[in-house]
Subunit: 347 residues, 2 copies
């Protein structure tokens, strides 16, 4: 059993913290360590250090090693160009098959999500591993929704297969609010957390069946895994497709295991409220803050600094030594716009 951390993100939603080539997975948003470090810790409850892998961009290799020094250099698989997750999982799969054979169970997880309840998460993942070992299936973790979130993809649950294991009826794109409300009220829909388990050979079979071009690329790389020229040539021609769209949705056999584990995809500053307890005024605060007559805010003060707010409602305030960001919580999507403006200015 091996664990694969997908750390290819290049997010800009956490500006100004993420401004300098430091995407979300490397941010320490809560003072509890970076998200990739926390993800590695979760995985190290499942597998030994020598069975931990990271797939990342070439230029982020050093950062990955700095945050997860437990891992050996050869277990950080570098992508020369970002080609989305179907390829990233494929690269890990061929490396695993070469080293340990096609029956190796692989746990796949994004590097930049957060889980509050490690025990529940580990328990569900252990069940998923058990299922994947003995069935030719891809087993997904589905998160029981706690609110009608429109920012997540949903998995529709099918029939019960065995204990906590269910069939997957369908994948649902990010819904509008009425649809999301219906999902939550009706039940039987889970958030797609991007965590799944299967044998490496099963993944490669599905790629071969559904994505012949990707399969050919993986074959070419597998012929000489250490050859970075081949890898670059292959990646340049690969299609950019996610593992969900490209492989999971069309897979022959899918299962899911539901879990409530305080999961968040940490999709932007307002999500700090998901991963940090709030005070009696509903303010979510990281760092030293003085909030006077203020409610429902998300406030981040970098170490050694202080943020003071007066008469503020439902805002995001972020302080770093170099920058301050202020916006209503419901405008967090616009941080991308800001980031682009900033980049134009800096050129």
């Amino acid at each position: 059993m091996h664990a694969i951390i997908l750390a290819g993100g290049s997010g800009t939603r956490f500006w100004p913290l993420s401004r300098e080539g430091c995407p979300k997975q490397f941010l320490d948003l809560t003072g509890c360590g970076s998200l990739i470090r926390q993800t590695a810790d979760r995985m190290l409850h499942m597998v030994s250090r020598s069975h931990l892998w990271i797939v990342t961009a070439e230029h982020q290799q050093v950062q990955c090693l700095a945050h997860v020094p437990d891992i050996g250099l050869s277990h950080v698989l570098c992508e020369p160009i970002a080609r989305n997750t179907a390829a990233a999982v494929g690269l890990a799969a061929i490396a695993l098959v070469q080293a340990h054979g096609p029956n190796t169970v692989m746990i796949v997880t994004p590097a930049d999500h957060s889980v509050a309840n490690h025990e529940a998460f580990t328990e569900a993942l252990t069940e998923a591993v058990k299922r994947a070992k003995h069935h030719d299936e891809i087993v997904l973790l589905g998160i029981r929704p706690t609110r009608p979130e429109t920012g997540y993809g949903y998995i529709e649950r099918g029939k019960c297969r065995d204990g906590h294991v269910f069939a997957v009826k369908s994948f649902r794109e990010k819904p509008d609010l009425p649809t999301a409300k219906r999902y939550v009220e009706k039940g039987g829909y889970a958030w797609n957390a991007g965590v799944f388990v299967m044998r490496a050979g099963i993944y490669l079979e599905e790629v071969r069946r559904q994505r012949p071009r990707l399969a050919a690329g993986l074959d070419a790389m597998a012929a000489d895994l250490n050859n970075t020229d081949i890898r670059r040539d292959v990646y340049e021609k690969l299609e950019n497709i996610s593992v969900d769209h490209g492989v999971l949705e069309g897979a022959k056999a899918l299962s899911m295991i539901e879990v409530s584990c305080g999961w968040s995809d940490v999709g932007g500053w307002p999500a700090l409220a998901d991963i940090t307890p709030s005070d009696h005024d509903g303010n979510t605060v990281v760092g030293r803050t003085i909030a006077h007559d203020s409610q429902g805010n998300v406030i981040y003060a970098s170490p050694g600094s202080v943020v003071a707010v007066i008469g503020l409602r439902d805002m995001v305030v972020v302080h770093t030594p170099e920058a301050t960001l202020v916006m209503p919580k419901d405008r967090a999507e616009d941080v991308r716009v800001l980031h682009n403006t900033m980049e134009r200015h800096e050129k």
Copy 2:
């Protein structure tokens, strides 16, 4: 003719900029130099370097010299304890009388105000000096109000005495909004800018008549002006009273000269809008700022940093490397509360 800059302020309204023993007069709020530096420059249009004086607190002597290196050490008069402006002007008056006699004309100005139109200001002050030279009067500068400001004291204009010189009918405390509106509509009321001119002997006569205890203290200090022990003893016993309440309001002969010169007392962060032009969205911006869909804000970014705001209306946002402050413009008074909270925390 000499100019006296009163630099005794210890303001806390410009937190976080004013946090570290750096009151308002030493702040460079607009990138055009500190307020005391700008005040000195205004006075140096009226008097030579050797006729410029500063009255300040002992512990601010070095800062004063750093900001106004034009001045000689002996012209920085230090107060051992803050005892308000009646005493500060008195200290300057006895120093002037000893050095140059009682007929020396003294211009008194606060260190921490702002004037946009130097020419109009200098012109009015020159008229005030002319009047004070030849009349036993205290001559005040009154600022023609541009809005019904409730944060300023007003001077009610009396009869015309000569050209632009008017009698003073009364002093009016900070009014409520309806009263302030009436003042502005009716005319004949000017903002009290705390700038006035008279011969040093006239001031001391008024002190002797109205404030015998202060007069006795000034006499004691005048006996040995360089003796800091005497000065400390005297100051410890002085009453804490402003020059307006203690001397001007009860003065035998007062005149005023009105002027429109883009004056502001720079009373807090929202006043940045008085002393800096705003952009087409009504945002007043000092430093590097990106304002996306935001109107009517006052934004301060310290040098080398950036402030980004999204969807913000009528807010104050201040960034320094160590701190961020966010509040609605109409809550600026609460900065004092904040400052107190902060101090308690830091103890």
